[in-house]
Amino acid sequence: MGATAITDDQFQAEVLDADQPVLIDFWAEWCGPCKKVGPIVDELAEEVDGLKVVKMDIDKHPAAARDHGVMSIPTLLVFKGGQNVARIVGAKPKAALLSEISPHLD
């Protein structure tokens, strides 16, 4: 089922108030590299236990991206207990994403 698309209105509840670590993928339709990282993020959603995975189309929902200093896409952020604990800028292979994310899993 992959990463769940969320809106700016849902950001607080789905990401900041989540009771488990959250990976969020900021993307847009017109971004070539985003199309490559999107399917990898979907795989992480399927395969990584204890990680919630969501995505946000910044064209439709620019507020959360702006509030968290996203100035390049794709950017992946990891939130834990409402805090941004990891920032991954640009597309990276799955193994590289896993090694940056896994230290933040319980």
Partner: protein
């Protein structure tokens, strides 16, 4: 995981790699394309970072770079190409089959190898650039222009890419300043004219960026410019820096084995695509710093696939 041996392995997924894949697949060679994720630039190659491609034959109204690449990928897949979405971490060319390792740790063995790894955008290599990468420093206007609505940006460079980025960025930015180290542009006449005609585009000549200013919280706040004639430095306020200062061929993993020219591009036996190692071929920007077009890369990819097919017929029959 146990390694499989493929007739043709292609590293790279731009026009060269995907055209090679289509030709190899149609020759029933069941090619494997290691399309990459980020090493050496984005999967799909530099076309995925552009907007309209207006000079690829067969598209009279132009086509979006991403759409062109997606079409090439599907075309190759239709004839039996398989893809691995991973970066290559090692290439062993000491004997055939050649051995390729990827970030996931999998080994691939290849009877022939086509290197279509392209070239990656050159960086400035100045203080502040790494720290502010993705926080106002970018090499992809189509990805990141969106974040500079009503802001002022600098584009560094003087070629077609610089003119395209500058013109594209005027859709968002209030002002775009092109910083170029000479007084003449390398860009083609049509691209120059578009930039010159655009009221939002200004030029600073004979200048290089020697530092990017700003912090993580606010992103880029300015650049330090050095005058190439007088050596005087000045601070120039800007919200973003877009780089378009040329490319570096992606030969890191093979440069110690294969022959390269003085700029690092792979040398092939023109007009064929054979490198110095029999069974290893090169196509596209990794071996061409003269033409560097999507259509010339596609042409070289076609040649590489035919060369590989003939090599296999002669050696493995």
């Amino acid at each position: 995981m146990t390694a499989t041996t493929r007739n043709v392995v292609i590293i790279g997924s731009g026009p060269a790699g995907l055209t090679a894949a289509t030709y190899a697949a149609r020759a029933n060679l069941e090619p494997l394309v290691i399309e990459g994720v980020t090493a050496g630039g984005p999967a799909g190659g530099q076309l995925t970072l552009t907007t309209d491609v207006e000079n690829y034959p067969g598209f009279p109204e132009g086509i979006m770079g991403q759409d062109l690449i997606t079409g090439m990928r599907e075309q190759a897949e239709r004839f039996g190409t398989t893809y691995v979405t991973d970066d290559v971490t090692g290439i062993d060319l000491s004997s055939r089959p050649f051995r390729i390792t990827t970030t996931s740790g999998d080994d691939v063995h290849a009877n022939t190898l086509i290197l279509a790894t392209g070239a990656k955008p050159r960086r400035l290599d100045v203080p502040g650039e790494d720290r502010l990468w993705g926080q106002g420093v970018s090499a992809c206007a189509t990805c990141d222009g969106f974040f500079f609505r009503d802001k002022e940006v600098v584009v560094v460079g003087g070629g077609d890419s610089a003119m395209e980025e500058a013109t594209f960025l005027t859709k968002f930015a209030s002002k775009v300043t092109v910083v170029h180290r000479r007084t003449e542009l390398r860009a083609s006449a049509i691209m120059q004219e578009r930039a010159f005609k655009n009221d939002k585009v200004e030029f600073i000549w004979n200048a290089t960026v020697t530092e990017v200013l700003g912090d993580g919280a606010d992103g880029v706040t300015g650049v330090v410019l050095a005058d190439t004639v007088s050596d005087d430095t000045t601070e120039f306020d800007t919200d973003g820096v877009f780089l378009a200062i040329g490319h570096i061929p992606n030969t890191d993993l093979v440069a110690d084995v294969l022959e390269t020219d003085e700029d690092g591009y792979l040398i092939v036996e023109q007009p064929a695509t054979q490198t110095v190692v029999p069974g290893v071929f090169a196509a596209g920007d990794v071996s061409d710093h003269v033409y560097r077009q999507a259509v010339t890369a596609a042409g070289m990819g076609c040649k590489a696939a035919i060369d590989a097919e003939r090599f296999l017929a002669a050696n493995d029959a």
